[in-house]
C-alpha cells in the first residue's frame, strides 16, 4: 500500500495513543503528534514512533479549550490527514475542527487506505447493516479512529525527535468547570476480555442475572448485555452493553443468552471467533450467527450447564 508523507495524530492522552502512532507510522513517512499542556508526554510519543511532536501549551483548561489553537495550527501547517483517537471529547473537537475547515469527519473508521492521492475510510452505517467507504480527495481529512484498528507497538527504547511549541490561542467562548467526579462504576474493559457472556431480554428479572453470572464464572468470562438491559432496564452498567452505540468486541468466545440477535447488537460481536447462543425462540436471529446453539428455556438449561461445568 502506498504511503503518504505526513499524518497528524492526537487524542486525550499520549498513553492511549500508542496504537494510533504505530498505525500512522505504517501509513506515512512522518508522524506528527499533537500534545496538550506541556511537553512531558513527548517522550512517550517518540517512544511509540512519532517523528515530530507539537506541544500546545496551557494549564488548567478543558481539553476542548485547545480547539482554537488546534484550528490555528492546522490552518498554518495544512496537514493532509488528522487521526484522532475516538473518545467523547475528541469527537466534539473533531467536529469543531472539521467545521472550521469546512469539511466532514470520517468517524469511527474501521479501516483506512490510500488510493492515489485520496484517503479512503471505512465506517459502519445503518445500525451495522452496512460498511460505508468515504473518500477525501484533497484538503484536510479528519478521522476518528477507535481502539482496536491498529495494533499497539512493542515497547521501544526512548527515542528523540523534533519538539515544536505551537501557539496557544485563547478561546473566545468558554464554559466554567464546576465539578469533576470520577465514574465509580466498575471498571470493566470488555475490549480485552477473551470470553464474554452477553444477556438480553430473555432474562426476565434483574435477580436472575446472578444465575448467568455463575455460568460466566464457571467458564471464566466477563459479563455483558444487549442495549435494553443497560438502557431502559438499567440492570447492568452502560459499560457492559454491546452494540452500535456501546462496546464493539472481538472476543474469542461470545456466549449469547436470551439475546434475539438484532443487527445493532451483533455488529458488536460479529468478529468473535466462536458465537454460542441459548434462546427459547428457534426463530431468533441469533441462531443465524451462531456456531453452536441450544433452543431451550434458559432457566431450564443454564442451571444444568453450571452443574456440569462445576462438576
Amino acid at each position: 500500500m502506498c504511503k503518504i508523507s505526513n499524518i497528524w495524530v492526537s487524542g486525550e492522552a499520549v498513553s492511549a495513543l500508542t496504537d494510533l502512532i504505530a498505525g500512522a507510522k505504517t501509513l506515512a513517512d512522518t508522524v506528527s503528534v499533537i500534545v496538550f499542556g506541556d511537553g512531558a508526554q513527548a517522550a512517550e510519543a517518540f517512544a511509540a514512533g512519532a517523528d515530530k511532536v507539537y506541544v500546545i501549551p496551557g494549564k488548567d483548561l478543558l481539553l476542548e479549550d485547545y480547539t482554537p489553537s488546534l484550528q490555528n495550527l492546522i490552518a498554518r501547517e495544512n496537514p493532509r490527514l488528522l487521526m484522532l483517537k475516538t473518545s467523547k471529547r475528541m469527537r466534539l473537537i473533531a467536529g469543531r475542527l472539521a467545521a472550521a475547515a469546512k469539511t466532514s469527519v470520517i468517524t469511527d473508521v474501521t479501516a483506512l487506505t490510500f488510493d492515489g492521492g485520496a484517503i479512503i475510510g471505512e465506517h459502519m452505517v445503518y445500525g451495522g447493516s452496512a460498511q460505508r467507504l468515504e473518500k477525501s480527495s484533497a484538503g484536510l481529512c479528519v478521522t476518528l479512529v477507535p481502539e482496536g484498528v491498529f495494533e499497539a507497538p512493542p515497547p521501544a527504547g526512548a527515542s528523540n525527535g523534533e519538539i515544536i511549541e505551537a501557539d496557544f490561542i485563547q478561546p473566545s467562548r468558554k464554559a466554567n468547570l464546576m465539578e469533576r467526579r470520577p465514574i465509580v462504576a466498575e471498571s470493566v474493559n470488555l475490549a480485552v476480555a477473551k470470553k464474554v457472556v452477553g444477556i438480553g431480554r430473555g432474562v426476565a428479572k434483574q435477580e436472575d442475572i446472578s444465575l448467568i453470572e455463575q455460568l460466566a464464572k464457571a467458564i471464566g468470562a466477563e459479563m455483558a448485555c444487549s442495549r435494553p438491559i443497560a438502557e431502559g432496564a438499567n440492570w447492568m452498567a452502560r459499560e457492559r452493553y454491546i452494540g452500535v452505540s456501546g462496546a464493539m468486541l472481538k472476543p474469542d468466545f461470545y456466549f449469547a443468552i436470551g439475546i434475539s440477535g438484532q443487527i445493532q447488537h451483533m455488529v458488536g460481536v460479529n468478529n468473535s471467533k466462536t458465537i454460542i447462543a441459548i434462546n427459547n425462540d428457534k426463530n431468533a436471529a441469533i441462531f443465524k450467527y451462531a456456531d453452536y446453539g441450544l433452543v431451550a428455556d434458559l432457566y431450564a438449561v443454564v442451571p444444568k450447564l453450571i452443574d456440569k461445568l462445576n462438576a
Binding site: R201, A204, P228, G232, N280, K282, N283, D297
Partner: protein, 384 residues
C-alpha cells in the same frame, strides 16, 4: 365510497400503543400473571399512564374525546400485541352508561375510576336461573323503613373481586312484565352481606369471574341509577356498542395467534424443509387470513354504520356471532400449526385458545345472536 385507510392520527395512536407495549416488555410478565391467576397490574398501570384509559371519556371530565371506531382499533391492536383477554384498561363505555342515567354523585365516582383504568363496576345481570333468559332474574329490591334492601345471587360477574361497584339489576315486583319491573343500582361491593366467590375457569385466569351473593344488603335510594322500573332498557343503551368492543377482542386475539403461528411455519423444519412449504399448512394460513380479513371488514363496517348514525341492531348480532366463531377457528388452527408446543402454557397461543373460547358464550351466546338477528332479518324481508 369505501375507505379503509386509518387516519394519520389513528396510526400514530396505534404506534404509541405499540411503543408502550414494547417499552413494558410485557410478554413474560403476562405469562407469569396468567400462571398465578393475577391481574397484570403493572402493565395496566403503564397503559393508564400513557393515556389509554382516558380515551372516549369526554374532555370536560378529564378524558380525551375519541370516536368509537378509534376505540375499536385501539382495543383490537392491544389484543393483537398480546394483551390479556378481559383486562384492557379502557372503561369509556361503562363511564358512558353511568353518565347517561346516573346522578351527579354517581357520575363523579365512576369517572374517577374510569380515568384510572379501574373497571368501575361488575355487571350484575346474569343469575343462575337467568342466563340467556334474562327476564327471569329474581334478585329482589325491597324498601322498608326508608331503607333499600337487596337480596339475590348473581353469577359470571367479571371482575367482581376488583370492581368497587356492581351495576346491579334487581326486580321491584311491582309490575307483571319483568322488563318494566327492573331497577338499576350502583351497589358498593364492600357492603356487609356481600359474599364473593371466584369461579374456577378453564381460561381468562388474569381476570376473575365470580359469583356474588347479596344478603340483606342495605343501600340508599340515592344508589338507584336512572328511573325505577326502567333498569332493563337503560342497560340496553350501549349494548350494541359494547358488543362490538368484545368483537374487537376477537379480531385482536385471532391476529395475535395468526402472527405467531405463521412466523413459526416459516422456520420450523420437518422432513428437511420448513412446514410452511407444506400445502396443508399453507391452506390453514390462507383460510386463517381470510377469516381475519372478514372479521375486520364486518366489524369495521358495523362501527362505521354506528358512527354515521345507522342502526346496527342486526349487524351487532352478526358481528358477534361471526367473530366469536371465526376467531376461535383461527386460534385453533394456529395451535395446530404449532403442534405440541402450541398446547403448552409456554406458548401464548394456548392462552388465547383457552381465553377466547368464552367469547362465544359471554355478552350474548352465539345462539342468542341467531335468535336476535334471525327474527329481525325475516321481519326486514317481509317489509318489502
Amino acid at each position: 365510497m369505501i375507505d379503509f385507510q386509518k387516519t394519520e392520527e389513528q396510526e400514530l395512536l396505534l404506534e404509541s400503543l405499540r411503543e408502550v407495549y414494547k417499552r413494558g416488555n410485557f410478554d413474560d410478565y403476562f405469562k407469569e400473571c396468567d400462571k398465578n391467576h393475577v391481574f397484570p397490574e403493572k402493565a395496566a398501570d403503564a397503559m393508564v399512564e400513557a393515556g389509554f384509559a382516558k380515551l372516549g371519556i369526554p374532555e370536560k371530565f378529564g378524558g380525551t374525546d375519541c370516536d368509537f371506531t378509534t376505540l375499536i382499533f385501539v382495543a383490537e391492536e392491544a389484543y393483537a400485541l398480546g394483551w390479556p383477554s378481559l383486562c384492557w384498561v379502557n372503561q369509556a363505555l361503562q363511564v358512558d352508561d353511568i353518565m347517561a342515567f346516573g346522578s351527579e354523585e354517581q357520575c363523579k365516582k365512576i369517572l374517577d375510576l374510569g380515568l384510572k383504568g379501574i373497571k368501575p363496576f361488575t355487571l350484575g345481570f346474569t343469575e343462575p336461573q337467568a342466563g340467556s333468559d334474562n327476564s327471569s332474574m329474581n334478585t329482589k329490591v325491597e324498601r322498608k323503613d326508608g331503607k333499600v334492601v337487596i337480596n339475590g345471587h348473581k353469577t359470571f360477574n367479571t371482575a367482581a373481586n376488583r370492581s368497587p361497584y356492581m351495576l346491579c339489576i334487581a326486580r321491584e315486583y311491582k309490575n307483571e312484565s319483568p322488563y318494566k319491573d327492573f331497577s338499576m343500582f350502583l351497589l358498593p361491593m364492600n357492603l356487609p352481606g356481600i359474599q364473593i366467590e371466584n369461579l374456577d375457569k378453564i381460561g381468562n385466569w388474569m381476570m376473575q369471574t365470580c359469583e356474588v351473593y347479596m344478603k340483606d344488603c342495605e343501600i340508599k335510594e340515592s344508589d338507584l341509577v336512572g328511573v325505577a322500573g326502567k333498569g332493563f332498557y337503560q342497560l340496553m343503551k350501549n349494548f350494541e356498542v359494547e358488543r362490538l368492543l368484545v368483537c374487537a377482542a376477537n379480531v385482536g386475539m385471532a391476529r395475535c395467534a395468526y402472527d405467531e403461528a405463521v412466523k413459526y411455519a416459516g422456520v420450523r423444519e420437518q422432513f428437511g424443509q420448513t412446514i410452511g412449504t407444506f400445502q396443508l399448512i399453507q391452506e390453514k394460513i390462507v383460510d386463517m387470513k381470510i377469516k381475519i380479513e372478514n372479521m375486520q371488514n364486518i366489524l369495521y363496517k358495523a362501527a362505521w354504520k354506528k358512527s354515521t348514525g345507522q342502526s346496527i341492531m342486526i349487524d351487532s348480532s352478526l358481528v358477534k356471532r361471526y367473530t366469536g366463531q371465526a376467531a376461535f377457528q383461527v386460534i385453533d388452527d394456529a395451535m395446530q400449526i404449532m403442534g405440541g408446543i402450541g398446547y403448552t402454557n409456554d406458548c401464548r397461543i394456548s392462552r388465547l385458545w383457552r381465553d377466547q373460547r368464552v367469547y362465544r358464550i359471554m355478552a350474548g351466546t352465539e345462539e342468542i345472536m341467531v335468535h336476535t338477528a334471525g327474527r329481525a332479518l325475516i321481519k326486514e324481508a317481509m317489509k318489502g
